[in-house]
Symmetry: C2
Subunit: 269 residues, 2 copies
């Protein structure tokens, strides 16, 4: 059972892991700082408790402790209980979700491990927006994609905003960085994954026709520029979502959702 | 050709329609104020110029005038040219898109008119988040949905943030408010639309199997609560997107995109 410890002084050193979350120079969730992973709100904290991320402490109001009591049974970490005012002084802003958990960053999963049972994975290049990244994980979780792999120039999926937007699914959907880009794609090809590059190019094959592999890796680029030429060249097939002429490409997380949906469309009818 | 008028004094009354865009008490885009429609950035301004929204004026830096010159040929409105600093003083914040257009709100389209040629429409209930609303319009434009209808308790699609997130597609995808809710759905049923209610309920039919109508109206509720019971009762069929157990429902704009995709999936292969 988590030990409840009341915090009355916002300067109390025991809650330093939650301090100044909005201060870009000191944020504990930046890899250059402590690189801690922060979960916000009851649902995301619950997902953290069920994940490989082991919280070292929680900070929250009394009401949230009540809502988490069952989840915290058997979890040996301190629950720093504070008023909303004290919490706001510690974290640097008013936090309407009322509870936070902090976990150290565990070692990253091995690519080979994460591919073992996977049927559908997304491989991201240049997705440097935390909100898009969080949404991709949320959509992957909801639509049954098995893992996310990172190529080059992607944002940190464990940044606080990404964790929040993903509704905690960055803690559950396995992810790893490829050791080289785009050469690391060979790790997927060697395991029989069909490499499908998503593009708005009208000359590409229709998404539904392109994804023929039993195992599929979807290559997704940043909104706007899309995949680089060399990523595109490394793919087995280029696929497009059918779009109305004269409109913009879809948001990258929406495009990913469409492809994940297409993968489960027939399976789970 | 738009007349270029240089503005050097931020207090100049001629740019009052662009004043204090970030001030919630005075924003010109609130229906309770002037209800003006504001387009931001070159792409969205271009979409406004191609739409039924007739701008009454533009405010922008010299560089953006150059980029819009061809679009503004034959458009008889003033282009108030100002420095980035003067613009920032007028609108109340630094605007990195560098150009704005303002248009009065035209009369809303008639529901009957907008349904005449439509094959796929979305009907929204309780979608009160401007970002979700904007994304729904963007996805409708991209994936070929023909119109958006509003039931009860939806946000204003012409609010500045919704216009921006939609990338200007709220100005192009036709929309209208149903005269009654949910009784106004009869207007759709009378025209042969199949009314399909989207729900995360696992007992509902698979999306791909449910949408059998030649004409389909997709009923979408707010994230979280979803459609109300009475909206659900007014539908012909309940449809679900196949989801992994234990995950959250998708974002409403993502769910809409999936359904729009399903509608065009076979058409445009």
């Amino acid at each position: 059972m988590a030990a409840v410890i009341d915090i009355e002084d916002p300067a109390d050193g025991r809650v330093d892991d939650f301090r100044d979350l909005s201060d870009a120079d000191r944020r504990p969730d930046l890899p250059g700082r402590k690189g801690s992973v922060i979960a916000e709100g009851v649902v995301v904290v619950q997902r953290m408790l069920e994940s490989r991320f082991r919280p070292s402490a929680l900070l929250g109001v009394d009401k949230r402790y009540g809502q988490l009591a069952a989840d915290l049974a058997g979890v040996d970490v301190p629950y720093y209980r504070a008023s909303a005012e004290v919490m706001a002084e510690v974290v640097g802003f008013h936090l309407n979700r009322g509870v936070l958990a902090v976990a150290p960053r565990p070692a990253e999963l091995a690519v080979a491990e994460l591919l073992r049972e996977a049927r559908t994975v997304a491989v991201l290049e240049g997705v440097n927006d935390h909100e898009n990244l969080g949404s991709i994980f949320r959509n992957a979780a909801g639509l049954g994609a098995d893992a996310i792999l990172f190529g080059e120039r992607c944002a940190d999926p464990l940044y606080r905003r990404a964790v929040r937007v993903s509704m905690g699914h960055v803690l559950r959907v396995p992810f790893a960085h490829l050791p080289a880009w785009p050469d690391g794609l060979d790790l997927l090809r060697d395991r029989g994954f069909q490499l499908v590059a998503l593009t708005p190019d009208p000359s590409a094959a229709h998404l539904a026709a392109a994804m023929t592999g039993e195992r599929v890796a979807l290559l997704l680029g940043a909104e706007g520029p899309g995949l680089t030429e060399r990523a595109m060249a490394a793919a087995d097939v280029r696929a497009r979502i059918p779009m109305t002429p004269g409109t913009d490409s879809l948001n990258v997380a929406t495009a990913a959702a469409m492809a994940f949906y297409e993968r489960v469309r027939c399976d789970r009818g």
